[in-house]
Symmetry: C2
Subunit: 243 residues, 2 copies
């Protein structure tokens, strides 16, 4: 039987989704829990392979089990075998050919920036502390420049191994509360580190620190060397996946 | 010079405010930082001595330093000597006789309950997970019963060493969002474990599990043995102190 689960996790204490021998990863925990329940190793596929320290509110994972489970029972059994910072929110049985990654039609990521001189200790794990004021109108405008179909070579790792670095961003949204800037990016798919690199570039642009001059120019130049480090992991959350 | 600082901390990883040899405490960290800056041990007084795992958004602490500091400089120097989960938000110089605890006129505590079958991993550190539905109208009504001047013997530790267990609660407020119930209690002062014990009793009352029958009866009987455990520490935050 093929299953699809929705997973939420606080990524702070984990080395990301992907299993790595001897390191705490979300996939490692989930595979262990599933093997305990099914009696044999289980292969899991996640919609988005989140990096170390990145969170998820709506990660989607698919896997096959030899045993047949009612959804609520499998959810309870898995949660009973996972730590409190990793929770299965929902379980569904799906068609045999369903694959959480290949079938994903869209993803939404959220990035939070805490903009104040003194960091709020309750945001340390969940936002990037940026101690200088940002111009939110410019942030909104620059974020719009990223929307559309572009070659995002500038915004991924230099050794990014994909057939194409062309991706489509369908929506970029900015919310401003006191001290907290929240960015949302939706698209069919994203390159490795793309969201965090875009956020880093948006903040540099905001402070007049882009050598390339503008976000549009950055996209056009297709050169990763033009910009600085990606924004830190703790601000990023995989919010939801659409099928 | 006498100083008053406002402190925010994520209490998860600490054994409470009060210094204890060999254990990580907020006062221990602060005293170490102050001694580093002033060159000699410094005595600190907090408005509320929060217990292990309890948080603060507006703890107030007073202490004397031999050196004279501009507020912003002392704030930066202290934050540079404290971990990211403990932050000095504000520093002021105060009259020589000011004492953060004795001069406090009122305190407000917040208690959060996450009411859903599956816990949200981002609330694990900051809310009590209560997996059964609660009647919010009854919660509001019962909380009102606690407002006023009462002998709160039922709601503190059996060996509570204070001259009187009479306290005045000036306000009890309940906010209900999806899955999250937030209670606010304001009063001149609170007994040890009082807020958490009141919350535990309110939840028991809500589920029809009070042997005493009602919150009013619990207050009248003045017997700690009538009720169960205090609600867990992670839901509680010292929000603000008034002078």
């Amino acid at each position: 039987m093929n299953y699809r689960i929705t997973l939420a996790y606080d990524g702070t204490d984990y080395c990301g989704w992907q299993i790595q021998p001897g390191l705490p990863t979300i996939q490692g925990l989930l595979n262990d829990a599933l093997e305990r329940l099914d009696g044999a190793p289980v292969t899991t596929f996640a919609a988005g392979r989140t990096d170390a320290g990145v969170h998820a509110e709506g990660q989607v994972v698919s896997f096959r089990l030899s045993k047949k489970w009612a959804g609520a029972n499998l959810r309870k059994a898995l949660n009973g075998n996972l730590p409190p910072d990793v929770r299965v929110l929902d379980v569904a049985t799906v068609a045999d050919q369903f694959h959480a990654r290949f079938d994903a039609k869209g993803k939404t990521y959220r990035y939070r920036i805490f903009v104040a001189e003194v960091m709020n200790p309750f945001w340390v794990r969940y936002a990037w502390h940026y101690p200088y004021a940002l111009d939110s109108a410019k942030l909104v405008e620059d974020a719009q420049t990223l929307v559309g179909t572009h070659d995002f070579t500038t915004f991924t790792v230099a050794n990014c191994e994909t057939k194409t670095r062309v991706r489509t961003i369908t929506e970029a949204r900015v919310e401003c509360e006191t001290d907290l800037l929240t960015l949302y990016f939706s698209g069919e798919g994203f390159l490795r580190y793309q969201v965090r690199t875009m956020v880093g570039a948006l903040v540099d642009a905001n402070r007049g620190r882009l050598n390339a001059g503008s976000i549009a120019e950055l996209i056009a130049r297709r050169d990763r060397a033009l910009i600085g480090a990606p924004a830190p992991a703790q601000g990023l959350t995989l919010l939801k996946v659409e099928y």
